[in-house]
């Protein structure tokens, strides 16, 4: 998108305050700021353990101008279900309830609660900001860590041996009304998806890729560039799916080779060109599959 149009599409709301404890260049902090811009002040944030438990500030501080509940790791979706029910009893239907969970609290530890809430089609927006490992405890691998990546628990000699879980497909399989991927590097696409999610009732799921300079090992100033390359290389395509069946690409930016994305990050430094070739093949395969889904959805309309 041309740079001159972007500012008109990003709301003015400023609900994140400075002095928070995110690392310089944190994609997760920016993701929260952008999502809250669209959600506005009538929002309650439910926060299972994740980087943001630190970013929100030490007691008695808060870095948000909206209420934020710190909850246990596995309970994000369950607590949000309860808060939603309480608000509904009070007649406060116009207050947004969101869960703000990392990949650990979503892909691993919080998956059961999320699955249960999605089954009941609880009325909240679940945002997973995905930095692809347990970053705040010291970069331990999660089931969101991509194949081949270094973490402190998957050192270069034994890098991540499993593929990243396809969380979007898992959520789509629950046939919730709305699920989408988004990126801080495409802010208009991100706020548009929040806006669309707000217009829908039921469980809505946003999977937001949040580049992490210390965890992925790249220069702080390249955070946006890294998110952009993830989308451009099709490692992280920007899509949305309604009712688990109607898939659609929301962005189709200029293509860059997977190699460019992988080679820009220290966590993949040990990979050989051949291994990157395998990653590239897998990316192409999944992208083709998504395209089939999108084309089939298009044909139905």
């Amino acid at each position: 998108m041309s740079q001159t149009i972007i500012k008109d599409r990003i709301p003015e709301n400023e609900l994140l305050m400075g002095g928070h404890l995110a690392c310089p260049g944190c994609g997760g902090a920016l993701a929260m700021r952008l999502v809250l811009k669209e959600l506005g002040p009538k929002t309650i944030v439910v926060l299972p353990a994740c980087c943001w438990s630190i970013i929100a500030g030490p007691y008695p501080q808060s870095s948000l101008k909206v209420p934020l509940y710190h909850t246990a790791f596995e309970t994000g979706a369950a607590v949000a279900s309860g808060i939603r029910a309480a608000l509904d009893i009070q007649g406060q239907h116009d207050t947004n309830v969101i869960v703000w969970a990392g990949d650990g609290g979503t892909f691993d530890i919080g998956l059961q609660a999320l699955s249960g809430a999605a089954e009941r089609n609880e009325d909240f927006i679940y945002c997973c900001y995905d930095n692809e490992a347990y970053m705040n405890t010291g970069i331990q691998r999660s089931s969101a860590t991509p194949w081949g990546a270094w973490t402190t628990t998957t050192p270069s000699k034994h890098p991540q041996a499993t593929d990243k879980k396809d969380i979007l497909a898992i959520m789509a399989a629950h046939r919730i009304p709305y699920a989408a991927t988004a990126s801080v590097s495409y802010p208009v696409d991100l706020v548009d998806k929040v806006k669309k999610a707000m217009s829908i009732r039921g469980t809505r799921f946003l999977h937001i890729l949040a580049p992490c300079p210390p965890g992925w090992k790249f220069e702080d100033e390249r955070a946006i560039d890294m998110g952009r390359m993830a989308v451009q290389s099709r490692v992280f395509p920007l899509v949305e799916v309604e009712h688990g069946t109607d898939w659609r690409f929301t962005m189709d930016p200029e293509h860059v080779p997977v190699q460019d994305y992988i080679r820009a990050q220290g966590r993949f430094r040990h990979l050989t060109d051949e291994q990157i070739g395998h990653i590239s093949d897998a990316v192409d395969y999944r992208y083709e599959h998504l395209r089939d889904l999108a084309e089939r959805s298009q044909a139905k309309v």
């Binding site: 994140l16 305050m17 400075g18 002095g19 928070h20 995110a22 920016l30």
Partner: protein, 586 residues
């Protein structure tokens, strides 16, 4: 905690810990060792423009739909955009940071469209005649006209002395009508007259009006007499024939409306713009034309487009051929040329042609036009001025000199753009000198501060403090391609000039681009180095540390909370932000 104590907790305290302050009290800005700063810089096009036109500035105004502000900014620096839009060699475009991405912005075409619009508009209400001083300008070529224009806008009374009967100098005598239609030149000159510039034609300085009179009646004299003496071709044989013509005289005759009979075959000797103009003019008179040049295409000093247009129209080229001997039988001329090859580079870096040996090349023609360059006659001028005991001033440094020199005669590059830049430069020097005579103190540094990107061109907007582009802090470093974030510029091919199929006609051959395409071209401009408030820095700041200051309308960085990640600088599409090392880190 006993049950007793628990009950003493006040009732309004909630049963869980609640935050009572914000993180804003944490000075997380102390983590950083580098910090961002808005430093508007100079776009390479402007640094490359000998006229010193604020190209990025007017492109930005055009993008915002501020057409009249764009026209005003263009006219502030360039007295004749409709003319430069047609005949300039546009070094701005070869410097354009977009050149290696999807093609340089077609700056010349946008300038031409804007220039034509300006000619349609009534003359703006500029404040003129605020000083009593009269200034004489010698020569009405581009340098003289530029100096007269700028001095008039600065408030002086200017009189121009032209030795020919018609105004325009090289613009009229040297540049053919198919490149610069006479109507455009005439309406531009009509505007200068309307501004109050007084023109005296048929007046040669030094003879029709003496130097002593010029320097006593006028507070300053600007000499821009140009380079109008055709250099002679040194050939063996009889060179006095009618059929061996000087390029400049030939152009002068045709441009004045003459249509000489030059026969079926014409040879043009030389590789510069005069040679191209002669070749295309001869073609239009019905001749088959061959250009003979000592070096190769790569070394030709002519504007690239002119060479391409000449070739497209059917001009043939004979490279690496140096004319040696002229002979003639029965009306036909024979030119013997030595075959050359390229040797070592000369002082200007162009490879010098050296004889290659072998058989000479024999060419036949009805007419031979020699266009191997023009001299200035500076020597004679210097002698004249020395007789009149006048000191000359080319750089505005000598406090007492009344005579200023600029343009071709002063050794500036032989282009319209350089002449316009020289005219502006001398106008500023004269303004400074005259104001200093009135007791104003204008230090040398002030001249340094208005130099654009460290080049020789000066900014009139900066000199008159009338720059409409709100710059935070103009820095004179030039934006490099690596400073541009191309992610924000979708590839979009350049809009190219259209050419009329008017071969052998003296009508304008390049028809330019449409107004609509010109606006689309302006939108392609990266606007290098100057913040245009796209707000990407603010949108991407994860610390919410960049906010708009409603008072100044500018962005301010909350350095107490900026952690120095550099995302704002990396994402700035145009290099208007830089990361600076914190002073206390050194």
């Amino acid at each position: 905690m006993s049950e007793q104590n628990f009950n003493t907790v006040p009732l309004h305290t909630p049963p869980l810990s609640v935050s009572s302050s914000s993180t804003e009290q944490n000075i997380t800005g102390s983590w950083k060792y580098i910090q961002p700063a808005y430093h508007d810089r100079v776009a390479p096009c402007i640094a490359g423009c000998p006229t010193g036109v604020d190209i990025e500035g007017y492109m930005s105004l055009l993008r915002d739909g501020e057409l009249s502000a764009a026209m005003e900014l263009l006219q502030c620096e360039n007295p004749m955009p409709a003319i430069t839009g047609r005949v300039c060699n546009h070094p701005c475009e070869s410097r354009c940071n977009r050149a290696n991405y999807d093609g340089a912005v077609a700056i010349h075409a946008v300038e031409r469209v804007l220039g034509d619009m300006i000619l349609e508009e009534p003359l703006p209400h500029w404040t003129m005649r605020k000083h009593d001083e009269r200034i004489a300008v010698i020569g009405s070529g581009p340098a003289g006209l530029a100096c007269a224009y700028h001095l008039t806008r600065l408030g002086y009374n200017v009189e121009v002395f032209e030795k020919e009967e018609e105004l325009g100098g090289m613009l009229r005598l040297g540049i053919p009508g198919y490149r610069l239609p006479r109507e455009v030149l005439d309406s531009q000159i009509a505007r200068y007259k309307a501004m109050g510039i007084i023109f005296h034609t048929g007046m040669r300085a030094g003879t029709d009006i003496g130097w002593p009179r010029l320097t006593t009646e006028f507070s300053a004299v600007f000499i821009a007499s140009g380079a109008h003496v055709s250099r002679l071709l040194d050939l063996e044989g009889d060179c006095s024939r009618q059929s061996l013509r000087s390029g400049l005289d030939f152009l002068r005759e045709v441009n004045a409306g003459g249509r000489p009979d030059i026969g079926k075959h014409a040879l043009v000797i030389g590789g510069g713009n005069t040679a191209m103009d002669c070749a295309r003019t001869a073609l239009r008179l019905g001749a088959e034309v061959t250009v003979v040049y000592r070096r190769t295409r790569a070394e030709m000093p002519a504007i690239d487009e002119e060479i391409e247009d000449a070739a497209r129209e059917g001009v043939k080229f004979e490279f690496l051929a140096s004319p040696e001997k002229l002979s003639g039988t029965g009306g036909r001329l024979q030119l013997a040329c030595t075959r050359m090859e390229l040797g070592e580079p000369d002082a200007q870096g162009r490879r010098r042609p050296v004889p290659a040996g072998g058989e000479p090349l024999l060419l036949e023609a009805d007419t031979i036009i020699s266009a191997i360059g023009e001299d200035t006659g500076l020597h004679d001028l210097q002698a004249e001025l020395a007789d009149a005991k006048l000191a000359m001033n080319t750089w505005g440094c000598e406090k007492l000199a009344r005579v200023f020199l600029g343009g071709d005669v002063a050794g500036d590059e032989r282009t319209v753009a350089s002449a316009l830049g020289a005219g502006k430069r001398c106008a500023i020097y004269i303004d400074r000198q005259l104001r200093q005579q009135h007791g104003e103190d204008i230090p040398e540094e002030r001249l340094e501060a208005i130099r654009i990107g460290g080049s020789e061109s000066l900014s009139m907007a900066r000199w008159t403090n009338s720059d409409p582009i709100m710059r935070v802090s103009p820095q004179n470093d030039v934006v490099q391609p690596a400073d541009i974030n191309t992610a924000y510029f979708p590839r979009e091919p350049r809009h190219n000039d259209r050419h009329a199929a008017l071969l052998k006609s003296f009508e304008e051959s390049n028809t330019g681009i449409t107004t609509r395409d010109a606006l689309a071209e302006a939108a392609r401009c990266y606007e290098c180095g100057v913040c245009n408030e796209c707000e990407l820095c603010r949108i991407y700041c994860g610390e919410a540390a960049i906010q708009l200051d409603p008072g100044s309308g500018r962005f301010v960085i909350d350095l107490d909370h900026c952690k120095g990640c550099g995302v704002c600088t990396a994402e700035c599409p145009r290099g208007a932000l830089v990361m600076e090392r914190l002073a206390n880190m050194d």
